[in-house]
Structure formats: C-alpha cells, structure tokens
C-alpha cells in the first residue's frame, strides 16, 4: 500500500511544482514545456485513482493534442524580438494574495468533509485481476456494469453522447480553421488602427506576413 502513497506524492509534487513553474516563468516556451510535464503528472494521478482510461485519454488528447496545438500557437505568434511582457509588480502581488486566499478556502473545504478522509485504496480492489474490458469501455459501448441490472439500472451507455462530442469537435475544428485563415492582403495591413503601433514598424511586418502567407497556403488544422 505504501507504493500508492509514494507514487501519489511523487506525481502530486511534479504536477503542482510544474504548475507553479508555469506561473512563475515569463518565457512562454518554457511555460508550454512545464505545462506538458505537469499534465503528464496529472495523468499519472488519474491512473493512481483507478481511472486508467481517462489517464490514457489525458495523455493522448490533452497532452498530445491540445498542448501541441498550444506549442504551434506559441511558434506562430512568437515575435522576432523576444519581448518580455511582464505584468506590473502590484498585479502579481495581488494575484498571489488572491491565489493564497482561494487556496485556503478550497483546502479548508477539501479537508473539512470527513467522508473524504482516509478510506484509502481497498486492498481487495487492487489485486483483483484486471478485467479484459474495463467498465468504462463497456459503458462506452452501451452496457453499464457498475449498476446492478435487476433494478432496471442497465441504462444505455454513453455511446450517443460521444458521437455527438465527436461531431461537435469536427465542427469546432472546421470553424477554427476558417477563423484562423490569413485574410491579410498587403492593403489591409497599410491601414493600421491609428492608436495601434508605430508606423515605421509596419513595413517590415508586411514583409514578414507575406513570407508566412507564401509558404503555408492554408494553416492546417491542429492534429486530431
């Protein structure tokens, strides 16, 4: 049983530590990388808590897909001079204070509820032979294994919702692709919003954008 605690502490420490790191670092690339590590540790936690399918999905979709997408975003929007955009000191201080207050609140809530304390993983459940089809997989296909069938609990599983989710995902991706297509033409760049940026920087920007437009005819959607 000791392993469970040790592994839990390890994963928790990594997850929280790198989450904090994301906050403290100012370099956006490092942030992306720390985020990857933090989310991987989280998926570890999921496995520990017995949600292995979710852990797997977390790794595949979340870390593999979403964060890659984010990294793409970082690359696309990285400006040539590595501008350090740091918020003002007071904002950081205030946000920190707020975070602390929120943490105290959530922690006291988490700790306050007795039923969430100390049941610990049941030995029996751990050493049961792993089932070939995990309850979640069956659930997805439409057989509920967790409720006892006789009192009418064998409700249909979650097949239909997942179909809807996938269609939803497709639509969103198409939309994102459409939104992000580069409509920039040389002309539209010239009329800068008056209050926007210094005029002299505008020319080299135009050159740079044409370069991008030339080599990537249409930004392909994020890998699914």
């Amino acid at each position: 049983m000791i392993w469970h605690s040790v592994l839990f502490t390890l994963f928790a420490a990594i997850a929280c530590g790198f989450a904090m790191a994301v906050v403290f670092t100012s370099n956006v690339v490092r942030m992306a990388f720390y985020l990857v590590i933090s989310l991987s540790a989280t998926s570890g936690l999921f496995f520990l808590a017995g949600a292995d399918f979710v852990g797997a999905m977390q790794l595949m979709i979340y870390v593999g897909g979403t964060l890659v997408l984010l990294i793409f975003g970082v690359m696309l929007t990285a400006q040539q001079r590595f501008v350090q955009m740091r918020p003002s000191r007071s904002e950081v201080l205030l946000a920190g204070l707020l975070g602390a207050a929120l943490l105290v609140l959530l922690a006291s809530a988490a700790v306050g509820v007795p039923t969430w304390r100390g049941s610990g993983p049941k030995a029996a459940a751990l050493d049961e032979p792993p089932l070939t089809a995990t309850p979640i997989a069956l659930g997805l296909l439409g057989f509920r294994v967790d409720g006892d069938p006789d009192d009418g609990q064998n409700r249909a599983g979650y097949l239909l919702p997942f179909e809807i989710i996938s269609v939803h995902l497709l639509v969103v991706l198409v939309g994102a692709a459409y939104l992000a297509r580069t409509r920039l033409t040389a002309g539209s760049l010239a009329q800068q919003p008056p209050g926007g940026f210094e005029q002299d920087a505008a020319e080299d920007r135009i050159a740079e954008v044409e370069a991008i437009a030339a080599d990537s005819p249409g930004t392909e959607g994020p890998p699914t």
Binding site: P87, E91, A95, L98, L102, L105
Partner: protein
C-alpha cells in the same frame, strides 16, 4: 295691494329696468357694429347710438318713476309723526334664491325702509339728470360717422398725429345702465353677500366708466387704480363678512339686526372686528383717508360720470352701508369711523383749496364732504349723516354738471386758463353759485332759512357739539369739522372767483359760449333739489330728515356708552336737539362759513391771483407723493413677483431638480469607469468575487451552526 307687496315689486321694477337696458344695448351695440362695418370693428352710426342712449334714459326714467311711487307708498303707509315715533318696520323679503349650499342661503333679497326709498329716489333722480345731460356733453361722439369720427387729442400716438377713433356713445350708456343697476342693487340689498356682490359690481362699472377713454394712458391707469383701491377696501369687507359668518351663521339683515344685541354682548371683540372690516370696504369705496388717492384720478373719466358716480351715488355707497349696518356697529367702531371722517374732511378740504384743476377741486371737496357724513354717523348722528348725503348728492351733482358745461365750453380743466366766465355763461354761473352756496351751508340760523347744505351741515354740527359736551377728551372731533367748514367755504369761493370772476386768462375763455339747452335743464332740476332738499313740505311735517328719522335704528335714540377701553358715550337724539346745542351749532357753522369766504376773497382779490403761498408744497404732496405711494406698492409687488418667478421658481425648484438629475448622471459615469476592458482584471475580479461570496457564506453558515 298692501305696501308689503307693492314696495318690493315697484323697487324690483326700478332695479331691473337699467339691467334690461344694459343687456339690450350690449347686444345691439355689438350687432350694429358688425352689420354696419361689414367686417367686425366698424363703427355704430350716430342715430343708432342715440337710440341706445334714449333707451337707457327711458329705462332710468322708469326707475325714477317707480322709486318716486315707492316713496309715495312709503309715506302713505307711514304718516310723518313728530319725529320721535318708534322706528317704522322695514319690509324684508326675497325675490328669488341664488345660492343654497349647506347652511348658507344667499338670495336676491330686499330690506326696504325709509333710507332705502330715499336713496333709491336720490340715485335715480341724479342718474336721470346725468343721462339727459350726457346727450349734450358727449355730442361729439355721434357728430360724425365711421372709424375716423372722433378726434382724441389726449391720446399720444406713435407718429404724433391726432388719434381718430369711432364714436362710442352707445358703450357709454351701456356702462351707465350697468352702473345704475349695480347701485340700486347695493341700495336694495337684503343680505350682506348681495351688498358685497353689487358693491364690487359698482366698483367694476366705475372701472369701465373711468376707462371710457381707454386710449388715454391717464384714463386707463386711473381706471385700474380706482378698481385696485376699491379691491383693497373690499378685502377688509370680505374679512368682515367672513367674521360675520363665523359669528352669526347668517347674512340676512333682518335676522342679523335681531341677533345683534346678543352676540354683541357675548363676543364684543369679534363684533368690533366685523364692524371694522365692513367699514374698510366703505373706506375703499368712499375714498376715506388711507384710500382716497383714486378719486381725484378718477376725474379722468367723462364729467357726467364724475357727476353721477364720483360725487352723488357710488362714493356715497360707503356712507349708505355704514347707515344700513348701523345696529351691527359697536361704539368703538363708530368712534373709529368718526375719527377717520374727521381726518378725511381736513385732508380733503386742504387739498381742494390748493389744486389748480377744476374737477380735482370738486373731487377733493367730495372726499371732504364724505368725511363729514362719516363723522356725523360716527358721532351717533344717523339721520344727520344721511340727510347730508342726500343734500350733498344734490349740490355736488350740480357743481359737477356746472363744471362739465364750463369744461365743455373752455375745453380744459385748468383754473389758471379760466376767469371771467360769468359774462359768457350767465346761466351756468348762476347755477354754480347756487351749488356753491349750498355746499357752504349758507343760511340764516335763527329763522331756519337756507339752502339744503345749511340744514344738513347744521344737523351735523349739532351732533358734534353734543358729542364734544359729553366727551370732553374727544373735543377735537368738534374742532376738526369747524376748521373743515372754514376751508370748505374758502376753496369753493376760490373756485367761484377763479372761474367766473376777474379777467379771462386764456383766449379760449374769452370766446366761451353758453352750454346748450339739454345740459342746462338737468342742471336746473338738480339745482332745485340742491335748494329744496332741506325744506319741509309746506303744511305737513314731512321733510327729508323727518323721513329718514322714521328708520333711524333705536340704538341712536338714547345715549350709548362703549366698552371700558374707549370710555366714549354717544349722544342720543334728544341731547343733540336741545335748544342751546342747536343754537351753538348754528352760529358756529355760519361763523366758520363767513370766515372762510372772507379769507378766500382776501387771498384771491377778486379772482386776479391764482397762486397761494402755502399751495405749492400741498400740491406737491397731492400730485407726486400720494401717487408715488401707490406706484411704490405696485413696484414692490412686481419686484417680489419677479423674485418668486425668477430665482425661486427657476433657480431653487428647477435648479434643485436639475441638480438631482445631474447627480444621477455623475454616479452613472462613475460606475462606467469600472469596465477597464483588461481581460486579466476581469479574471481577477471573478476570482475575487468567488472568494468574497464563499467567505461570506462560510461565515453565515458558521454563525448559523453554532447558533
């Protein structure tokens, strides 16, 4: 028919005839002017105007006949006894009800006693004479036709040329009929509200008559001034009425006179207030001291109006009202009336003796004579005061009509431009002389011979002497009329000298011509009244004073003492008629008159000298100081109004509300700035909200848990 029914019907007829003529002339006037000129605004042609005039004169003639018949019926019903008979009962009743709300009942009621009948005859007689006289005087109103008929030189036009306007004789008779209706209404009124109603209607018709030449700014201002001065007096009267209602709960004279002794005993203070209030109305109407400013200015109206309204009838309404409500008046009020009268007669007499305007002198003379009447009533001389009212109506109307014919002839009011007119206008001069003598009270005391003024003034002096004897501390109420008599004789002699004696002082005066027949006949009639009003009908004891004595309120029969506060005792009738009192009064009166005449003769040396040394400051007082007082009040009211409608209305109230609206807008602006537009701050506020809400709910939950 019993006098009980005959008198009301006769007097109703006398009362409504002028109303009928007013309605007829009002409708006919507007219709004729529409038809004649095609589009409205055309002129009423002369003939139509004259017919309307004849209708009005006919109506007032009917009233005169009816009044005389009523007088005859009254005399038949009440044979003249030896003057001390118990007061004849008055006929009171109601023609028709007008207003019935809760306990209040107001109707067109009548209260007919000797005073009413005598006043009715006097009013209608003088009115008839004035109606006839006006045809002559206002002849030029109907002389020409169309819109350019009459030239009016006293109305300033923009380009300075003479103002041309359409003749409006019909409108003059229309307003005159309205006035007679209103005046008879006051005379016949049977309850206090009806008196007040016609009191103000008389004021309104005098406003219309004074403002007859409304093109002249002077006349327009005089009309407004007259109405406002009357309204000031009427406020006091209204307060008196309200107090009367609070006190007695009814306005009917008959019932009031019956109840008077009871509530005079229980609520003496309030009864005095009632009397004082009603007398305020008389001060306004009869131009007594504080409110006499309007009467001289009222001379801006046509002279017939001055003769009828501002000498014989309307201004006498105040004296009539004091006579009518006499039983309601407490001794304090009477003393007040007497003192106001005394002051008025002195002020009037002094101003009359310095003024240069012929009509203004007569106006101030009227103010002074009214002072005499009020003094007499105040001293308890009910019969004497009202007898003087009757005689004064006669000779003052005569003087005014004479003045009218002089002005008609000479074309101006200014005494300095007249002189030596007796050669050009013998008839007018003779009649004016009669009027002057009557005004002075010329007559032989012992033999009882003299003009009407002599008898009435003598009666007043009897009461003055009796009063001075019983209340030595109030002796000034005797000396005032005495000095007044001297001044009266002085100014009327001065008037006579400056107009008729000496050399003509302007070329107009040289070739003045005598007035036409239609003006002289009414003057003669009024002269007869001025002469004979004092005499008794030969063979019987019937005379105006004896007639009036029939209705003297019994309160005047014996001496009355007021409350401890004033400690005044009014002399009764007998004490005023003791032999030595009468003799003293007689000689005092005639002495004063002679002194006055001689002093006037000396000072004006046969009409050659107009200016009197003391005159200038007094004239200054009269022409500038008094009008400036009324103009000052008007200015103060207008400035206060400007303050109310400007700074208060627009500044305070509107400003305040605009301020409130501004506050609302600024708070809105403030709130707007919270939307900073920065995403990060929004997230921050979001989280902050979560923290605060959960903290609050946790706090409440904890407090709730532990109790």
């Amino acid at each position: 028919m019993t006098p009980e029914r005959l008198l009301p019907t006769l007097l109703l007829l006398a009362w409504l005839a002028p109303l009928a003529s007013f309605v007829v002339s009002a409708i006919a006037g507007s219709l004729l002017s529409r038809r004649h000129g095609g589009q409205e605004g055309g002129a009423v042609d002369g003939a139509a105007a004259r017919t309307i005039g004849h209708v009005a004169t006919g109506a007032i003639g009917v009233s005169l006949v009816a009044s005389v018949l009523a007088l005859g019926a009254w005399i038949a019903a009440h044979p003249a006894t030896d003057g001390h008979a118990p007061a004849a009962t008055a006929y009171a009743g109601e023609w028709f009800g007008v207003l019935d709300v809760g306990p209040l009942h107001v109707g067109a009621a009548y209260y007919i006693d000797a005073l009413t009948v005598v006043m009715a005859v006097v009013v209608t007689l003088v009115a008839t004479c004035v109606h006839v006289y006006s045809f002559g005087y206002l002849a030029e109103e109907t002389a020409a036709e169309g819109l350019e008929a009459v030239a009016d030189d006293e109305a300033p036009t923009y380009y300075g040329n003479k103002l041309r306007r359409a003749g409006r004789l019909h409108r003059f008779y229309q307003h005159l009929s309205l006035f007679c209706f209103a005046m008879l209404g006051v005379v016949l009124a049977g309850n206090a509200v009806m008196t007040f109603a016609f009191w103000e209607l008389v004021g309104a018709s005098s406003y219309l008559l004074i403002g007859f030449y409304y093109e002249r700014p002077k006349a327009a201002a005089a009309a407004t001034k007259a109405m406002l001065f009357n309204r000031v007096g009427d406020v006091g009267m209204l307060v008196g009425l309200m107090a009367l209602w609070g006190l007695a709960g009814t306005f009917d004279y008959e019932r009031l006179f019956a109840m008077a002794p009871t509530w005079m005993a229980s609520h003496y203070g309030l009864a005095t207030l009632v009397g004082a209030g009603l007398f305020c109305g008389c001060i306004g109407k009869s131009a007594q001291v504080p409110l006499q400013g309007w009467l001289p200015d009222a001379m801006a109206g046509p002279t017939p109006v001055s003769a009828l309204v501002h000498s014989a009838t309307m201004v006498a309404a105040g004296v009539f009202l004091v006579g009518r409500i006499y039983p309601l008046l407490t001794v304090e009020v009477l003393v007040g009336i007497a003192s106001v009268g005394a002051v008025t007669l002195l002020v009037g007499a002094t101003l009359a003796s310095v003024s240069h305007d012929l009509k203004r002198v007569l106006a101030y003379s009227t103010v002074s004579q009214l002072g005499y009447m009020m003094l007499s009533l105040g001293l308890g001389g009910w019969t004497a005061g009202l007898f003087h009212l009757v005689t004064h109506a006669g000779f003052k109307a005569l003087l005014f009509l004479g003045a009218g014919s002089v002005i008609h002839a000479v074309g101006t009011n200014d005494l300095r431009a007249m002189g030596g007119l007796r050669r050009a206008m013998p008839a007018t001069a003779g009649l004016m002389l009669v009027g002057a003598l009557a005004l002075m009270g010329a007559g032989v005391p012992v033999l009882g011979l003299g003009l009407s003024g002599f008898f009435s003034k003598d009666a007043i002096f009897e009461y003055a002497v009796a009063f001075a004897r019983t209340n030595p501390s109030y002796a000034w109420l005797f000396w005032a009329p005495l000095i007044g008599a001297v001044l009266t004789a002085a100014y009327i002699t001065r008037l006579g000298l400056l107009t008729f004696v000496g050399q003509a002082r302007s070329e107009k005066a040289e070739h003045a011509h005598e007035s036409p027949e239609s003006m002289l006949v009414p003057m003669a009639v009024v002269a007869a009244m001025a002469i004979g009003a004092g005499w008794a009908v030969p063979g019987s004891r019937l005379s105006v004073p004896s007639l009036l004595a029939m209705s003297a309120p019994e309160a005047t029969h014996h001496a009355r003492t007021g409350s401890a506060w004033s400690g005044v005792t009014l002399p009764g009738v007998e004490s005023a008629h003791e032999v030595d009192v009468r003799a003293a009064a007689g000689w005092a009166a005639i002495g004063a008159t002679l002194v006055g005449v001689t002093s006037a003769l000396l000072m004006h040396r046969g009409g050659r000298k107009c200016e009197t040394p003391a005159g200038a400051p007094m004239r200054q007082f009269d022409e500038h100081w008094l009008p400036s007082v009324s103009r000052g009040c008007d200015a103060v009211a207008r400035r206060l109004g400007a303050f109310v409608s400007g700074p208060l209305d627009r500044g305070a109230i509107d400003g305040g509300l605009a301020g409130a609206a501004g506050l609302l807008k600024s708070t809105g602006g403030g709130l707007r700035r919270i939307q900073t537009g920065s995403l990060r701050q929004y997230v921050f506020f979001l989280a902050l909200g979560v923290v605060l809400v959960s903290a609050a709910s946790l706090g409440v939950a904890l407090r709730w848990i532990n109790g």
